[in-house]
Amino acid sequence: MSDEHAHHTNYVKIWAILLVLLVISVLGPMLEIRVVTLITAFGIACVKAYMVVKNFMHLNLAPRFVTYIVVTSLIFMLLFFAGTAPDVMQHEGSGWEKPAWKQAAADHAAGVTGGHGEHH
């Protein structure tokens, strides 16, 4: 952290903004509107994470290659998701099915709660 950056960064102000964003992320989903929930919960989570990484972890002051390795790790996460989600998220495919998952989906559609012991 450079002296100039340390002098100019108002950490308390950043913390206060993070708290305001926290309040919004809690109150937004209470409207029970899907788009608002996505924006206020997950959109704001991304903003909060960016603020912490930039202002508290000082990633922007580290050599550029540090950003590259961080981004690379995030890309690995996306590759993992893209490679496995097509199978994991399907309940059935060509020559295979997940009976327990299909049953759980049917129960949910029928309004059956299943209790604490359900496995799906």
Binding site: A6, L22, V26, F76
Partner: protein
């Protein structure tokens, strides 16, 4: 950029700092894999909405407040260390440890309540993810607090002040992980 650490330097930044960033990157893959798995299962199971409804949003929000505040004290400790004020840095690090203790205590109370209500690690896949993700994160909080105690003890004697920044970066990462766990486990209902 004028780093505190004056020990061996590789790749243009102090060795310790490089090592911590590698730790963070490794942790992104660990938590990223876990969260990606959770998200794809969550999207595939509408029934999880009902299960997630049993998590306590207010407790999650309080713990988010605690971690954000502990990140503030951690970065202020770093700032104090930059100014060569080891005693102040140590004091702020102890406040951060206090935040960690508060977080884990609240988490313990929360889990006790949920387990007593019948929601355990084996109740369903949702609760398995819940306890695994939150539990792995809590272990990181505990590990960070223990390391911070050693760093604070040395900092109080104005020794190894560069370590204040290193434990701070780790701590902020633990905060970032929780920033994503909070909406995933407590808000998406």
């Amino acid at each position: 950029m004028r780093p505190i650490a004056t020990t061996r330097s590789t790749a243009g930044l102090p060795t310790g700092l490089l090592a911590v960033w590698w730790v963070v990157v490794s942790e992104i893959v660990i938590f990223g894999g876990l969260l990606a798995s959770y998200i794809m299962h969550r999207l595939a199971h509408d029934a999880w909405t009902a299960e997630a409804a049993h998590t306590n949003t207010w407790i999650g929000a309080f713990n988010t407040f605690v971690l954000l505040t502990s990140s503030l004290t951690a970065v202020l400790a770093h700032q104090a260390a930059e100014q060569g004020n080891g005693r102040k840095a140590a004091r702020l690090l102890w406040m951060t440890v206090g935040g960690a203790v508060t977080f884990v205590t609240v988490k313990a109370i929360e889990w006790t309540t949920e387990i007593q209500a019948g929601y355990t690690l084996t109740s369903s896949t949702f609760w398995s993810f819940y306890y695994t993700a939150a539990g792995l994160h809590a272990l990181h909080v505990i590990a960070g607090a223990i390391i911070m105690i050693f760093v604070a003890t040395a900092a109080a004697k104005n020794r190894e002040l560069h370590r204040v920044e290193l434990i701070g970066i780790y701590w902020h990462f633990v905060d970032v992980v929780w920033i994503f766990l909070f909406p995933l486990l407590y808000i998406a209902k």
